[in-house]
């Protein structure tokens, strides 16, 4: 029983990342009609916003300590972060410790700007081109972006820990009279994604801007005829989608040390999530994200793998095939989306 509950929690956690990325993908597809294969790269850039802030906060000056030697036998240069020198070791240390949550503030403007530049600078030139062209250009962009990140940060994963107060495990089982633990930061990640998903849905549901965007998603031409500059709003939505992917990346860094390839690792799965959820359906993307996350976790259980070896590697695709055979438009797909 403990094992099943743990896998459900794991699945919700994985599903959180899938759902956030798939949500952004669907927003872009639903508004601009673009299949954005660079969306995984946005997730990766978000993660590297956290890495960058961590490095900025760790900018240090050096004191020569004659009593210690470096690897060449010279006097050791001891590094002290400027932040600790300015604010004292305790408060300065706390700022460095909280680098990942602080990176949220740092990442939002950067990701929106990256989204704007990406959309205005490249993707808008491909609106009228076939989906295959859009896929090729955005996939190429993703490769270029990850190579840029690798050039500056190297290929190896970079440790980006969670704040001390939010590391370790919580006895989640005690809430239901059982005894099992779960990492605190993973719980934080799940609730964070729920808040972001809730905020996006509220924004679209309860604001005038959101209402116009939804109207544009349903009938772009009519909204345009009403004198509304729907393209501008869609560009803003691209920026918001980029920010969502970026925030998902920032908060993911303590779970797995980020590397330049992490976006690609999520990209394919997130596209499967979008297709299973139904192209253009925001609730579908979220539902499919969590569902596939949970199924993937269960498929990794030894009991399941002993019955069907290797199922953990193909479960998502098997489920996708079954769903598309029975519901060709996905779980919550609408008629007419990506249908000639």
């Amino acid at each position: 029983m403990d094992a099943i509950l743990l896998q459900i929690l794991n699945g919700l956690d994985k599903g959180s990342a899938y759902a956030l990325i798939a949500l952004g993908l669907t927003l872009i597809f639903g508004t601009l009609g673009v299949v954005n294969f660079a969306h995984g790269a946005l997730f990766m850039i978000g993660a590297f916003c956290a890495v960058t802030l961590q490095r900025v906060l760790n900018f240090s000056y050096e004191d020569v300590d004659e009593s210690q030697k470096d690897f060449l036998g010279n006097a050791l240069k001891v590094k002290t972060p400027y932040v600790e020198a300015w604010f004292g070791p305790e408060f300065g240390g706390a700022i460095i410790d909280w680098a990942v949550p602080l990176a949220i503030l740092f990442a939002i403007p950067i990701m929106i700007a990256v989204g704007f530049i990406m959309e205005r600078g490249l993707i808008k030139h491909f609106y009228s081109r076939p989906h295959a062209d859009q896929i090729l250009v955005t996939f190429g962009l993703a490769i270029a972006l990850q190579e840029v990140i690798k050039y500056f940060y190297g290929a190896n994963p970079i440790q980006t820990p969670s704040p001390e107060a939010l590391s370790g495990v919580a006895n989640v089982g005690a809430l239901i009279g059982m005894d099992f633990v779960y990492p605190v930061w993973r719980i934080v990640y799940f609730f964070f994604s729920v808040v972001i998903i809730g905020a996006i849905f509220s924004f679209l549901q309860f604001t005038t801007f959101g209402m116009v965007v939804r109207a544009g998603m349903a009938d772009r031409e009519t909204v345009g005829l009403l004198g509304i500059n729907i393209n501008r709003r869609f560009t803003i939505m691209f920026g918001i989608a980029a920010a969502v992917a970026g925030l998902a990346g920032v908060m993911y860094t303590p779970i797995n040390s980020p590397n330049y390839h992490m976006g690609m690792d999520f990209l394919v799965l997130s596209f499967v999530v979008v297709v299973v959820g139904g192209m253009g359906s925001l609730p579908g993307a979220v539902l499919a994200g969590f569902m596939l996350g949970i199924l993937e976790s269960f498929a990794s259980m030894n009991e399941i793998k002993s019955i069907i070896p290797g199922i953990d590697q193909i479960i998502i695709y098997v489920v996708a095939i079954i769903i598309l055979l029975t519901r060709p438009r996905g779980l919550m797909g609408r008629k007419g989306v990506m249908e000639e």
Binding site: L72, N156, S257
Partner: protein, 448 residues
């Protein structure tokens, strides 16, 4: 007047052609008897450095490339000479190899077997490389080793730790300086026994490819031999990034030791996940839960950060060693690049010197002569103590380091500390050991 069908000119022409035709086979036979693939005839010789310059092991590849360039500099008489000064063989004079200036070409393996083979093929066929070296993955090393055997050039393997490289997939033209999974297990087991006792239940998570399989087989056999029980062996896809769903079942498995047969990004992520799930604070069967990483790399330890503290593993070499050879190499590399070399850099530097030395001693670049010079060759002064290049399988036998993640590092490089230097005799195995069975070395191929 009758006209003869044979003119003087015609007879001469026919005779010349027939003579040339008859002589041709002899020319070719004589030539091929002496020649071998890419016999360097000019004033220089080209070596092929085939390393991952893109892909997940690009940092290891970059460090390997730095070491190769340093080795070339030293072979050509530049720099401070590095480990050439401490190497027990004094055949190398700092004037290249056999008086020929050493040049090199580089290729990108991308940590993919097909790309690595294509890159090696291009270096052999287009650039005239007489030796290929490199690799940061056993799959790649085995693939390139096979190609070099077919092409008739020597392959000096870089970072490859699978038993199969010098086991079932060994080749006469291939040589490995790096240690292997069996040696890691043989070095680690006694240390683990002293630290954690003989009554332990181990749970293995293993990368699902050649290196992972042989590493798991080796460490499971070594720990079982000292009394440990293997609770479970779970294979994880190489492409995995989040290991939480593989770690969660460990919590209630009854295991009190987790063995992570992972390397690279897999190791960083699985170790991070294991620590996140509180395994290090867990007490099972009245014992503290322990994590073991059989193959450590400093570059990877950096990725795992504080999670490596106190965790034991093995490594081929570490920059903190105090022998003359290691210190000379660290000084040379550190002065040139500003940071200490990794074990990947060390092994490829050694391989380059060992190849050059073998050519020098053999007096020829012919792969068969070079192979003969390397086989059963004993040397010292390259940072691992006395070392033997065993002729039967082309595997180096030398001391193995057992290391531990350092609790209080003094710098970003000071991540591992050596807890034991396991003597070569303790990690040596017979040629016909079952874990290495299944393949034949064959005979050397000089090519063309």
């Amino acid at each position: 007047m009758s006209k003869s069908a044979f003119s003087r000119r015609g007879v001469l022409k026919s005779g010349a052609l027939a003579g040339t035709g008859l002589a041709l086979p002899t020319i070719f036979t004589a030539s091929s008897a002496a020649a071998f693939t890419n016999d360097p005839t000019g004033s220089s010789v080209t070596l092929g450095f085939n390393v991952p310059q893109t892909g997940p092991y690009a940092d290891e590849g970059a460090d390997e490339l730095r070491a190769y360039k340093l080795a070339v500099e030293h072979l050509n008489g530049g720099g401070d000479g590095g480990m050439m000064n401490t190497f027990s063989s004094k055949a190398l004079q700092g004037n290249g190899i056999l008086g020929k200036e050493v040049k090199y070409v580089t290729g990108d393996t991308q940590t993919k077997s097909d790309a690595a083979r294509a890159s090696a093929k291009s270096m052999i066929e287009k650039d005239g490389a007489v030796m290929i070296t490199g690799g940061s993955s056993s799959g790649v090393a085995i693939a390139v080793q096979g190609l070099c055997q077919e092409a008739g050039v020597i392959f000096m393997a870089g970072l490859t730790h699978s038993n199969d490289t010098t086991g079932k997939d060994k080749k006469a033209n291939g040589f490995r300086h790096f240690f292997n999974g069996y040696m890691s297990a043989a070095a680690l087991a006694p240390v683990l026994k002293n630290l954690y006792g003989t009554d332990r239940n181990a749970y293995h998570l293993t990368a699902d490819y050649t290196w992972g399989w042989t590493q798991e087989e080796s460490i499971a056999a070594a720990t079982e031999a000292m009394g440990w029980t293997t609770v479970n062996k779970v294979r994880t896809p190489l492409a995995s990034t989040d290991f939480s769903s593989y770690i969660a079942p460990v919590l209630n498995s009854g295991a009190d030791v987790l063995v992570l047969n992972h390397y690279g990004g897999n190791m960083v992520n699985s170790l991070t996940n294991a620590v996140q799930f509180g395994l290090r604070e867990k007490v099972v069967n009245g014992k503290n839960f322990e994590i073991v990483v059989p193959l450590y790399s400093r570059l990877m330890a950096k990725g795992a950060g504080a999670n490596v503290k106190g965790i034991h593993g093995s490594t081929n070499w570490h920059w903190s060693l105090q022998d003359e050879g290691s210190q000379a190499f660290v000084r040379s590399f550190g002065t040139k690049y500003g940071f200490p070399p990794s074990q990947a850099a060390h092994t490829v530097y050694c391989q380059t010197l060992l190849y050059a030395d073998a050519v020098q001693r053999a007096g020829s670049f012919n792969p068969c002569a070079v192979g003969e010079a390397l086989e059963d060759y004993e040397f010292d002064g390259l940072g691992n103590g006395k070392t033997l290049y065993r002729g039967d399988d082309h595997q180096c036998f030398k001391d193995v380091l057992v290391v531990r993640g350092k609790e209080n590092p003094t710098s970003e490089f000071d991540l591992l500390e050596v807890v034991e230097v396991t003597p070569a005799a303790q990690v040596t195995y017979p040629v016909d050991h079952p874990m290495f069975a299944g393949g034949a070395l064959g005979s050397c191929n000089p090519g063309s």
